[in-house]
Symmetry: C2
Subunit: 339 residues, 2 copies
């Protein structure tokens, strides 16, 4: 059993209250008492019991974070950013993985509430609409900031990349290189950000006076097989094949590339290719894939800042923040050949 404050107080020959004062530093304590307490802390290797402290103060100094999959590099970087921001502000961050499962996600939110975290950073598993009931329960609980994948039917502070704009930029890049028949392959359109990215594609086409051919809108998912089927259907005939593809997220994109390569359709030779998200250690990826890169670390970092403002400000005290950050286009080989 770890030593308690009481034992510490006894050893130091002072009262438990004095020990507390020494540790918190709020109330003045005589130098003599301070010394004795400090010595006793060393002697016993005392570590204050944060559980007891939290129960008493009703503060945990902890933020929760829910993400769909820590092994996705983008999320790992977001977590890093959030962690460092939390630490800078003197908070702990408790990260839990929902394994892209909404049921588990809901369970986790419950656990975090039970742990009395002071706020939650949420990257939803996606693909579902929060019911009125869920939503109400959530909003009545701790403050929430949503990142990246914004939930449908949940009105909270949020932060993500300006998806439509980023997407538009990527497609414009292809158009500028002479492409007219540009296919877009998306993730599940139940996700808000996927919808936005598709919107950006449409905008780029329309603003450039190009037709949006429904046959070139390939509504995909995160499943290898779905994506492969779409690619096979869309690329089978070299005549009607698009001259360029834009993939709206990294997971779908890897699946698409895999399918293309299996069909011996290569980039940039047979088709130009641009993707949302970095796919890997890009410098060794051959050919290099032109990518829309999100400021992942910053998204995590700023999400914590927004959350802390919300915690300080209270639920209704301030308007909802909706931060939209710009993404960058990194040009590489896959889109290097002008048509």
């Amino acid at each position: 059993m770890p030593p308690t404050q009481k034992e510490l107080a006894k050893l130091a020959g002072v009262s438990s209250g004095t020990v507390s004062n020494v540790i918190s530093g709020v109330t003045a304590v005589s130098e003599r008492s301070r010394r004795k307490v400090l010595d006793a802390i060393k002697a016993l290797n005392y570590q204050p019991n944060l559980i007891a402290r939290s129960l008493r103060t009703n503060r945990t100094n902890t933020l929760g974070m829910v993400i769909p999959d820590i092994t996705v590099p983008f999320f790992a970087r977001v977590v890093r950013g959030a962690e460092s921001a939390a630490r800078e502000a003197g908070y702990f961050l408790s990260v839990l993985d929902s394994e892209s499962n909404h049921t588990r996600e809901t369970a986790i939110m419950g656990v975090l509430r039970s742990q009395r975290v002071e706020g939650v950073l949420l990257v939803t598993a996606g693909g579902h609409k929060w019911s009125e009931q869920e939503s109400a329960a959530l909003l009545a609980g701790v403050p929430i900031v949503c990142l990246d994948r914004l939930p449908i039917g949940l009105d909270v502070d949020s932060i993500c990349v300006d998806d439509a704009r980023a997407s538009e930029m990527a497609v414009m890049h292809l158009i500028e290189r002479g492409h007219r028949r540009i296919a877009v392959i998306t993730g599940p359109l139940t996700l808000q950000n996927e919808k936005e990215r598709l919107r950006g594609y449409r905008q780029a086409m329309q603003r450039s006076g190009l037709d949006v051919d429904p046959d070139l809108i390939w509504k995909g998912s995160f499943e290898q097989e779905d994506v492969a089927a779409l690619c096979r259907a869309g690329l089978a005939n070299p005549k009607s094949r698009p001259t360029a593809i834009f993939a709206t997220n990294g997971v779908t994109s890897l699946a698409a590339l895999r399918a293309m390569y299996a069909m011996r359709v290569t980039t940039p030779k047979d088709i130009a290719y641009v993707t949302f998200d970095e796919l890997a250690s890009e410098e060794f990826f051959r050919p290099g894939i032109t990518s829309v890169v999100q400021p992942a670390y910053e998204i995590g970092h700023r999400a914590v800042e927004v959350l802390l403002r919300r915690i300080a400000g209270g639920a209704a005290a301030r308007p909802l923040e909706r931060v939209r950050l710009p993404a960058k286009l990194i040009e590489r080989e896959s889109s290097s050949k002008a048509l």
Copy 2:
């Protein structure tokens, strides 16, 4: 303020103890009371306060995990494995990132103790020896299991790949393809696992009756510049250049490849190459790099099992477990050309 058990009890018209019994399910409760309590829980959207429960029961049902960098894919997968094992056992897992910094690592261990986690999974930042004092303090605290990078001067349960064996296997693979002058480039040799991997290299050479040329042992680090300098020195002269390189970890390996490519030394054309660890989405990495692949998920998963046994068994009750898992060699292009 979230509702408390007392308020709940009042609403349900029973005592607080009965509420507790309903929730824990340990003591029998009449169906009537049960109903009333359950209804009240719904009505108030009650979530038990785990902080209070922990203070009372002296149990947190939480394990801590300290890793050097969540953005390293290997660690992310280890975390996933640990998380799922923890969940299966009804534990929470609290993951903290030391940012490869021993000072921060020590601070984190203190925090985890303060949070009264029941055990800790530790991947040390490495590069330091734990002082007698640190070690003693640590061992007196919660049970610890070390993963992957085993600490020096800390006697605890541990789990990692059989590094020497895995290394030997990789080097044998090169020898079988006719290589005689094989360089090894390592990470910091202050890390136990790096030492082991170097030992494996030596073993393979010696068992095959080959000389171990000290000039072919490149003692590197995780720093791009150090590694680049070693590569430049070792590869400058095409005559005396080794015919193959074995890199003992992923981070160093990426740095080495970068340096090689900058020098226009390519693999497999100019030199054969084998590395410890997967470097990225290997199927798109060109050329594909022959790799020693570790069972990352399993390492995390089994580490939790070991830790739970230790928690159940007590400090001295059982002998130290030292689990060593086999790694696999995945052959790819970079070592495809026999000499």
